[in-house]
């Protein structure tokens, strides 16, 4: 059992895997309007605290997996009525790979 102080130290030292997005479809970039660098044409980090392992881009609505196999959606997200929110898809299977086309997403699920 690590001392809480040591645990915090290790956590601070651990590297994070962050998603940067850019492009012409501003609503699909996943961060609030006004924060876009160079009108969205320069990479900007997505506001998310976990470790991102895989990303699938459909365009306006996009998806990523975190290191726990959870699926998250970002971009054009009418549930939140605002952009810049990253929302977990609670009904998705625990995933190991994800790919997207223009209007669909394929999920390769791991063992439950």
């Amino acid at each position: 059992m690590l001392h809480p102080g040591l645990r915090r130290l290790f956590a601070a030292a651990a590297k994070r895997r962050v998603l940067y997005t850019w492009g012409s479809q501003k609503s699909g970039l996943g961060y609030p309007e006004g924060e876009a660098k160079n009108g969205g044409l320069s990479p900007h980090p997505l506001p998310f605290n976990g470790n991102i392992t895989s990303v699938a881009l459909a365009g306006a609505t996009n998806f990523f997996l975190d290191s726990q196999g959870k699926t998250w959606v970002f971009g054009d997200n009418p549930r939140q009525q605002e952009r810049g929110k990253v929302v977990q898809m609670e009904n998705a299977p625990k995933a190991v790979k994800m790919t997207a086309g223009m209007n669909h997403v394929l999920i390769l699920g791991g063992r439950h």
Binding site: K15, R16, R17, V18, L19, Y20, T21, W22, G23, S24, Q25, G28, L29, N38, L41, S42, P43, P45, I52, T53, S54, V55, A56, L57, A58, G59, A60, T61, N62, F64, V73, G75, D76, P78, R79, V87, M89, E90, N91, A92, P93, V96, K97, T99, A100, G101, M102, N103, H104, V105, L106, I107, L108, G109, G110, R111
Partner: protein, 290 residues
């Protein structure tokens, strides 16, 4: 592993319904909003046309899907495909499309270049796809490609019958000799292959009908590749990003007859180590270790 599909709920009728049919998401009721459906409707398992066999790999083109059936079945290493097939992207002759996963076993048998090989992994472009070839799931370093090839993006050589409106390849090998292909990133007009030695080859853009090697800096072998509309590139072991063509605005102009890459400045990604890049027609993304 299982495979599921989530149709895009923003479109009505669902575009996937044109070709997924039997596994499409239920239509929403009058009381449900599109938004409700996105977050509450279940992912739909790909139906048991593929049996209970393990799924080895998946790939998505613009309007088609591929899954690679796993072991313990006579059709292991055989892709199942569905969706739009008007460019030959479903492996075989051009078809309007399939509404649910259909085995491509017959198409592989008809393809002399596939020999006795099994497919071991899948990669999809906008209107085309490639797969690594192996025997008994041992990757032998060759790649088989099919689908739209109007600009030579499949790397299968010159097609004298090609034109802008009707050019597709049934299945041919990506032409890299004496190298072991590990991955092919496929965009629209460009494909980029990564070999086991960390070399990178680019095909397409109406110039490179036979894949040509990118001129990378010495001492930084590539570990991943990416491709977009008219550009391609790779990520070096160092995390540096090398691009041929225009990506991220002001990259160095490249000669149309040379494959010299430009280097994306470290500050673009806050000096982090870039691990992978994915592109779509409108949005691109990079996973960066900070």
């Amino acid at each position: 592993m299982s495979c599921s599909v989530l149709p895009d709920p923003y479109q009505e009728p669902y575009p996937m319904s044109h070709f997924v049919g039997k596994i499409r998401l239920r239509r929403r009721t009058e009381q449900e909003s599109v938004t409700d459906q996105l977050f509450t409707a279940p992912f739909i398992p790909v139906p048991n046309k593929t049996g209970s066999a393990k799924v080895l790999d998946i790939a998505s083109g613009r309007e088609f899907c591929l899954i690679l059936r796993g072991n313990s079945h006579p059709e292991d290493g055989v892709p199942f495909r569905w969706g739009h097939g008007g460019n030959g992207e479903l492996l075989g002759t051009k078809v309007e499309g399939y509404f649910y996963p259909i085995s491509a076993a017959e198409s592989l048998v008809e393809t002399a270049e596939s020999g006795e090989g099994k497919l071991t992994s899948l990669f999809a472009g906008w209107y085309n796809a490639c797969s690594l070839l192996g025997k008994q799931h041992i990757d032998n370093g060759d790649a088989l490609c099919w689908g739209h090839n109007n600009q030579g993006q499949l790397g299968v050589g010159v097609d004298e019958t090609a034109n802008m409106f009707d050019s597709h390849v049934i299945a041919k090998q990506f032409l890299i000799e004496d190298e072991h292909v590990q991955k092919i990133a496929m965009g629209n007009n460009v494909s980029v292959a990564l070999t086991a030695k960390g070399n990178v080859y680019l095909a397409g853009n109406s110039v490179w009908w036979i894949p040509m090697q990118l001129e990378l800096p010495a001492g930084d072998p590539a570990v991943d590749v990416f491709a977009g509309q008219n550009f391609g590139g790779c990520i070096g072991q160092s995390g540096k990003v090398y691009v041929y063509g225009r990506m991220l605005g002001k990259n160095e102009e490249t000669s149309p007859r040379g494959l010299k890459v430009s280097i994306v400045k470290d500050e673009v990604f806050d000096h982090g180590k870039v691990l992978s890049i994915v592109t779509s027609p409108q949005v691109s993304a990079a996973i960066v270790e900070l």
